[in-house]
Amino acid sequence: MKLNRVTALVAILSLLAAGIAFAGKDLDAVKKKGFIQAGVNGGVFGFGMPDEKGVWKGLDVDTARAVAAAVFGDASKIKYVPLTAQQRFTALQSGEIDLLTRNATRTLSRDTQLGLNFVTVNYYDGQGFLVPKKLGITSAKELGGATVCVLPGTTTEQNAADFFRTNKMDWKPVVIESTSELAKTFFAGRCDVLTSDASQLAGTRAIAPNPKDYVILPEIISKEPLAPAVRHGDDQWRDIVDFSVLAMINAEELGITSENVDEMLKSSDPTVQRFLGVIEGNGSALGLDEKWAYNIIKQVGNYGEVFERNVGVNTTLGLERGLNALWTNGGLMYSPPFK
């Protein structure tokens, strides 16, 4: 009797071991689950935050929805996991999430040592400073001796250290893990300056008690290419995520929007036909349905639509396209050919 129980236990444990060993294929795991677990910010307006009805909104959220549309033909097959800056990479490494779309900056060390693969950038950002107007400061070079609010575990934290070191200025960091707690502390005057990616500063200013009292300084002190990330080990999954982002960019370049995508199916342009799966090939190459790109554009939209809807000039954030315009308009958004 006793022996039987031990044997059963050993059997269960070895099954567990086997299960974990086979779970290496992230795509298989995602398909089996029937939904994608996406790590998002949860507290940054315009990028990843639930609205007052609890519906997740944002540029990063839409990026995750594009991947779901490509894999399942249904952009809603996602479970969102809000993560802090410190939790995000561990959550991806450990398999708690399948995809990280949480305004993460691609860097060499993250791409290598952390065992992650970043894909195409979905927002080109740079680090700036937000200060109260009443301080009367016009340049970041005047920040010597300032107390600076900063999120831990971010590139921002290191950039700020580099910036003040290079300019030989003293400073004191106040490091708080939660984005909303940090903003509250800054608005209460615990720090003179809040530093973060410029897009996030715009989002933080938008939720200030009185947004007009705050100004973003002109200096941008770093390059912050924000990109979705997957973990090492499943190249097919990585390709799917990569081309889901690229499909949105390519659609904008081809002039395909969520509104005209059905008409475009009848287009005689072979580039458009290939892109939308009328001429087959792209879907099977990725291991997806031939309608994958159609589904993304139909359900989520092209990059321009997603940008304008979440962070563009007509939103509370009011961000210009800038670096995030198409390459044909002087920006950096460029997609390889879809063939």
């Binding site: 410190q86 001796g145 831990p152 490091v175």
Partner: protein, 399 residues
């Protein structure tokens, strides 16, 4: 006199062969071997599985990252630190910050907890009820909420540095913390420190000598009062001989913040207050239990033989109460130290906060968490080692 159940002794009946599963001794050995094998198997499985997963995802392993440049600044530090220093220096800063808040926190907690515990037993109705409500309130609100509360008080209700409150000359209170003047560093300060240490040693010697003399002759020597006088007088003497240096390092508003003086940050103060008020409520109950454990007859007997109230406390109540107090007090001290890791919520750079940032920058989560466990284990074990020694010293000596 062995306590083995001996049914056999009654009947004188000896079975020819007992199967091993009917023999409790042999069965126990089998169970232990099985348990040991299981533990070994599970640990091996966890270890090899982790290794395989790390390798598959090509995540770097090992402690080599400790020697690399940290590249991030830390808000407050007991030692000189800059972003150009290594990760190991950053971690040391974090560990020292944890020790700082735990040590000061424990001292304040014991003082406050003892006062509240005694107040709880007061015959004054109001004092007893106040102490009682304090204990109930503090014990029943999660400590994390209390930390947020204290932190919010600092940053919401105090003015900005430019409108800092200035209750006394050289003392400023604002949302950057408490900033106060300190004497400018002078060569005499180190010597004064040594003089203070010397006074402590002499005081200890006097105390022992006084006790021996009292045992021999019955004469009482006021060793405590003399030692206290020495502790003040000796450093003062050094200060006078050094030419009475009085220069002060007074904080001054320069640009954004105060320069000079010593700053106690809002993060540190909030963490300290939160931990002290929370833990003191538990310590108060422990102290109360300790005092109540000493029988009323003991006190009455002590007073009957003519001991003064101070002597009753010092010679009769405390030695017996401490035996009850010390073991649970140790666990509260450990609790305070471990709770200090909540610092991360309000931005105090303790060991966990610094390690988390390190983990995030280097991706060495397993190594980082292992370091956190090791460091807290070290804190806890050394503290309980000390308290066990003290407990043994205080324990009832059976003659």
């Amino acid at each position: 006199m062995t306590s083995k159940p001996s049914i056999v002794a009654d009947t004188e009946y000896q079975p020819s062969a007992v199967p091993f599963w009917r023999d409790p001794d042999k069965r126990a050995i089998v169970f232990q071997v099985v348990a040991l094998l299981l533990v070994a198997f599970v640990s091996y499985y966890l270890f090899s599985n982790t290794q395989a997963n790390l390798e598959r995802q090509s995540i770097a392993t090992g402690f080599g990252f400790l020697g690399k440049e940290a590249g991030f600044e830390i808000g407050e530090s007991l030692i000189a630190y800059s972003a150009a220093d290594r990760y190991v220096d950053a971690l040391l800063v974090g560990a020292l910050n944890t020790i700082k808040v735990s040590f000061i926190g424990i001292v304040f907690t014991i003082v406050l907890g003892t006062l509240v515990g005694i107040a709880r037993l007061s015959s004054n109705w109001l004092v007893a009820k106040l102490a009682g409500s304090y204990i109930e309130l503090m014990q029943n609100i999660p400590v994390l909420l209390q930390l947020f509360f204290w932190y919010a008080i600092f940053y919401e209700s105090f003015p900005s540095p430019r409108q800092a409150l200035n209750p006394f000359a050289g003392v400023f209170l604002c949302n950057r913390g408490l900033i106060f003047a300190v004497p400018e560093t002078h060569a005499a300060h180190a010597t004064m420190g040594w003089a203070f240490a010397a006074a402590l040693v002499i005081g200890w010697g006097l105390h022992r000598w006084g006790n021996r003399r009292q045992a021999r002759t019955g004469q009482i020597f006021p060793s405590i009062r003399v030692s206290m006088a020495l502790c003040i007088f000796l450093p003062f003497l050094v200060w006078v001989f050094a030419g009475t240096p009085t220069a002060m390092d007074v904080p001054e508003l320069q640009g954004f913040n105060f320069k000079g003086g010593v700053t106690v940050s809002p993060e540190f103060s909030a963490l300290l207050l939160g931990l002290v008020f929370y833990t003191a409520a538990f310590v108060a109950e422990i102290v109360r239990a300790g005092i109540q454990s000493v029988g009323r007859g003991q006190v009455e007997a002590a007073m009957a033989i003519g001991l003064l109230p101070g002597q009753v406390l010092h010679l009769v109540i405390l030695p017996q109460a401490l035996r009850v107090i010390i073991p649970p007090l140790t666990s509260q001290m450990l609790n305070l130290t471990k709770n200090s890791s909540l610092a991360i919520a309000i931005g105090y750079a303790d060991f966990v906060a610094v390690t988390n940032t390190t983990i995030n920058q280097t991706g060495q989560a397993i190594e980082g968490v292992a370091l956190i466990m090791l460091v807290y284990l070290f804190f806890s074990l050394s503290m309980s080692l000390f308290m066990n020694w003290y407990n043994k010293k205080m324990a009832l000596v059976e003659r």
